[in-house]
Structures are given as C-alpha cells and as structure tokens.
C-alpha cells in the first residue's frame, strides 16, 4: 500500500501544481462550457435550452477526461522517464504494478475533480439533466469506460513517445482530433457516415453519446447508443485499449535494457 500511496501522492501533487495541466484539463473545457452556454444557445427554444447546455457540458466533461488520460498521463510518464526518475525507481525494490496503480488512481482522482468542476460550471450556467438513479449509475459506469479508454491511449503514448513535449503534444493532438472526428465536440447527426461508424467504435465517443442519451435524451445523442451490441463494443474496445496500454507501460517502460 505504501508504494501505491507514495506514487498517488506524488502524481496528484504534480497534476494539481502544473498550471498548463490545470488550464487544458479544467480551464479550457470550462471556457467552452461558458461559450457554448452563452453564445451558441441564443436561437434555441427556451424549453430545450437547459438540455442543450447539459449536452454541451457533458461533451466538455468528456473532453476533460480525454485530456487527463491522453495528454496528462503520458506527459507525466515521459517526464519521469526523461528526468531519470524511472531509472531511479527501477533500481529500488518497487513493483511496476504498484507504480502503475498509484499513477492511475491519481489520474482517476484528478479526472473526477475535472469532470465535477466542468459539470458544476455547466449547471451554474443553466445546464439541465433528466435522469433516474439507475441512469445516473449507468452514466458513472460510462465515465469509467472513458477513463479506461483514455488512460489506455495515454499509457501507449507515454510508452512510445519518449520525450515530454512530444508525449504531451501527441496526447493533446489526438484528444482534439479524435474529439472533433468522433462526435464528442461535433454533433453526431452532422458527421459523415464514415465518421458516424468511427464514433460508434471509438469507445470514448460512444460512451459520451451514452451519457448524453441517459442524462439529456436521444435527440442530443443523435442515436440510441444503448443497444446491447453497441454497449458491448464500447466496453470491449475501452478494456482493450486499457489492457494494451497497461502491457506496454509495464513491459516496455520498465524493461531492463
């Protein structure tokens, strides 16, 4: 437990003290929630404006989770490798699994904080949601899938992109591009059919659609993402990405040359 707690403490402090991490993970999505809530909803009928703001807030919450997993995590891994910390801890009786667990728990805590802040700002701006307790529980499960998928991609980037700036830029790039192409930042209905197919396979966007469907309704999700095969695909691909990331990190980052 000590090693997990040590890595958790170190990683969470590093996330919370880096201004760029705070800005891109929390500040940037909040800016878009504010812009979306006050600039892009002026022509929307009053009876659905709250739910539109809700859908925008969900998308930005997902964007925050993506940035945390796909940019902050690889940045943190690459930073530790570049400054020789991984070399140092490899010389100590430290288990890679405990290091990984500590890192991931810290990321989970930071991602949850980011998500809650983004949603809170959305709520203050007038975002409204409609859900039952079960739907809320299911939404949390989909948030966890987004976390697993994003951190899996993040671990892959952190393992294969050796330098800090390269890892962060790759993560940010992939976050922005995949969010734009998969319907996280663009309404699903407006995507061309090839990208709609991608949106259904990419677990992060399909989980985003699921949460939107559960909390604000199908018209905002663009389709029903809760079919059995769709949910199974979302779970499987998210777990696959996470497993691949985990294997790459533990086998390659900790590999003795």
């Amino acid at each position: 437990m000590g090693q997990i707690r040590a890595t958790w403490n170190k990683t969470i402090m590093e996330f919370l003290r880096q201004k760029t991490v705070l800005f891109w993970t929390i500040g940037w999505p909040i800016i878009w929630v504010l812009l979306g809530s006050f600039s892009f909803t002026s022509n929307i009928p009053n009876d659905i404006v709250g739910y539109t703001k809700g859908a925008i807030s969900i998308s930005m919450m997902v964007f925050a989770l993506m940035t945390a997993g796909m940019a902050n995590l690889p940045g943190n891994i690459a930073q530790d490798r570049e400054r020789g910390l991984l070399t140092k801890i490899m010389s100590m009786p430290v288990s890679p699994w405990r290091d990984f667990t500590g890192r991931l728990l810290a990321l989970l805590a930071f991602s949850s904080l980011s998500a809650m802040l983004v949603i809170a700002v959305g709520f203050i701006c007038g975002a409204r949601f409609f859900f039952t307790e079960i739907e809320f529980g299911m939404s949390i499960a989909f948030i966890l899938l987004i976390f697993l998928g994003s951190s899996g991609i993040g671990m892959l980037i952190g393992t294969f992109v050796k330098h800090v700036h390269g890892a962060i830029m790759s993560g940010v790039g992939l976050t922005v591009v995949s969010a734009a192409l998969s319907g996280v930042m663009t309404p699903y209905q407006y995507l061309p059919s090839v990208l709609q197919s991608f949106a259904r396979i990419y677990p992060i966007s399909s989980a985003n659609s699921s949460i939107t469907y559960l909390l604000v309704g199908e018209e905002f999700a663009g389709y029903n993402p809760l079919g059995a095969s769709q949910v199974a695909a979302t779970v499987l691909v998210a777990l696959l990405l996470f497993t691949l990331g985990l294997i790459a990190y533990s086998k390659l980052c900790w590999k003795k040359e």
Binding site: N9, M13, G84, T87, S91
Partner: protein, 313 residues
C-alpha cells in the same frame, strides 16, 4: 582467495553491447565491504553502463555479478543508486520528494516523516525543506538526490557523476558530504570523470573503452605511472615547433597538448621551468601562464591510454 560473499561488489567478465558496439569488455571489479571506490574514465568509457548494471537497471550480456553475495535484482533493498540525471520532481518540495522515496521504501507515513527530517538535516537542507526543488541550486538539488540513498539499511551507494555541473563551492560541499558517508563505513562506488573527485577514494579504477586498465590507491597509481611532476604552460600559440621544443625538456619526451597550451612531464621541474620560458621566448612564443603540479589522475589516465586531452573532451 576471498569468498564472493565477502565483497560488496563482485563483477566477473561482465560484457555489454549496444547493438554492435561493445560498451563493456569482460570487466572484472571487486570492491570490498566499506570501501570507497572511484571508477574514473571519459564519456563513453562504459562507467555509467557498469553502474546501472550493478544497480540492476540494466542487464549484462554475460558475466557474473554479486552485490553482498546476492544477485543485483535481489540486492535492491541494500543498494542506493543516484543516476546522473536530476531525477527529483521540481514542482514538489525537497521534503515531499524525500517522503515519496521513503514511502516507496515501505516506511509508514510517521516513520517516513521522522527519517526525512533526519536526512534533510544530514544533507543541510532542513531550512529549505518546504521550498520547491525548482527553487534549489544545482548543488542543493544534488544533495537532495543523494539523500535518497541515505535511508537506513542501504549498504552500497552508487553515485553516477554527482559533481558534474556543480560550481566549485557546491562541489566542495558535496564532496564533504561524501567524506562523511565514507566515515560511516558504507561502501561507496563513485562514478566520475574528474580526477580530483576520484582522489578522495581509497581505490580508483581507470576505465577506458569498456576495460578497466588500471586499479589501485590514487597515490600508488600516480607513483607507478612514472609521472613525477607536470609543468603546465599556457602559450600565445601552439604548433609542431613548440611541441617538439618542449619535448626536449622531458626526460621521456612526454608532452601533452591541452586546450590552452601544453603539459610537460619532467623530474626536474625547478631546473627545467626557467629554461622552458627562455627557449619559448627565443622562438617568439609567449608564455602566458606557467605552473607546476603533481600529476593528477587524469594525467595517469592519459599516460596509460597514450591519448591527448582533446581526444577525450
């Protein structure tokens, strides 16, 4: 013959290749318990690779290694390694960094807090414990990183080029800390390319191109090298004529070219020095600085490898 278990470090026929380049070639190294051993060599000589193999960060291609009678991976709990890089987290305080390492080593929060306080005191950072490492000087940061190997129970300390990049006063303070460790009878392996640092050790190994070419006490290495004294000369220019003129003042015709002038090795410094100045003056070469020194470990290294200073810079 001593038993392997009686050595702090026992390495036999260790080889390591990176792709096709052989970095270590059948290296043999034996360091006694409580000994302060310095491994000295230029960049690319294989010393960092050897250190990281002993620290169980890298694996050898072949050879046998034992740390206090155990395989390096089983000896992690008694081996402390400070790599060359500044590995401490700059956005955490000195205290937070050490707490991280203490908890990694399995100390409870309470135990860790007590030990960290002690270590910060030992390395002279108690007053700056709560400052972020980004506000530390290079010397302070290095002392903090050395503190990570001062936790109780560590018997072998491996320090890889710890004084590189430190200013003279930080370096002096740092070496003072190493001397204190030496007094505590801990086994120390210091990796360095600086002769003056290696001079502090009880035994020095000179490594070149993956081979330990000489090994002895620093004074003995110097004495046995045949290098008695060195006249260091800085000249207004350097050329073949100056070089061959200077070689006449060395009994063994031994002259090394340096960045700013030459080193002349001679047994008769007092006689030779004024004659060198006169002779150089006669050919129009001004002597801008001249001083005599005892041979350094660097000189011994160059003598043994027959290489010029600029070749290894």
């Amino acid at each position: 013959m001593q038993a392997i278990q009686s050595y702090a470090v026992f390495a036999e026929n260790v080889t390591k290749k990176y792709e096709k380049q052989e970095v270590l070639r059948e290296v043999n190294l034996k360091i006694g318990r409580g000994e302060f051993y310095a491994l000295m060599g230029p960049n690319g000589s294989g010393k960092t690779t050897l250190a990281s193999i002993l620290a169980s960060v890298k694996s050898p291609d072949s050879g046998k290694i034992m740390i206090f009678g155990e395989k390096p991976e089983d000896a992690k709990k008694i081996t402390g390694y400070v790599p060359q890089e500044n590995f401490s987290s700059p956005i955490l305080s000195g205290k937070e960094n050490l707490m991280y390492f203490a908890e990694l080593l399995g100390y409870s929060k309470k135990e860790a807090a007590d030990i960290v306080q002690e270590l910060l005191n030992k390395v002279g950072l108690l007053e700056d414990a709560d400052k972020r490492v980004s506000q530390y000087s290079g010397g302070m940061r290095k002392r903090l990183e050395v503190a990570t190997i001062l936790f109780p129970g560590l018997k072998l300390l491996i320090l890889d080029e710890p004084t590189t990049g430190l200013d003279p006063s930080a370096r002096r303070r740092f070496l003072g800390l190493i001397q204190e460790l030496r007094n505590e009878k801990t086994t120390i392996l210091l990796i360095t390319h600086i002769g003056a640092d290696a001079d502090l050790a009880s035994r020095v190994g000179l490594i070149d191109r993956g081979v330990i070419i000489a090994e002895d006490q620093p004074e003995k290495l110097k004495k046995n090298s045949g290098l008695e004294n060195v006249v260091n000369i800085e000249t207004s220019f350097k050329n073949e004529q100056v070089s061959s003129l200077l070689s006449k003042f060395s009994e063994k015709m031994k002259v090394l070219e340096t960045e700013t002038g030459y080193k002349v090795f001679t047994e008769n410094v007092e006689k030779v020095t004024p004659r060198i100045v006169r002779s150089l003056d006669q050919i129009g070469c001004k002597v801008t600085k001249i001083e005599t020194t005892q041979p350094s470990l660097e000189d011994v290294f160059f003598k043994l490898t027959e290489r010029k200073v600029r070749e290894v810079d």
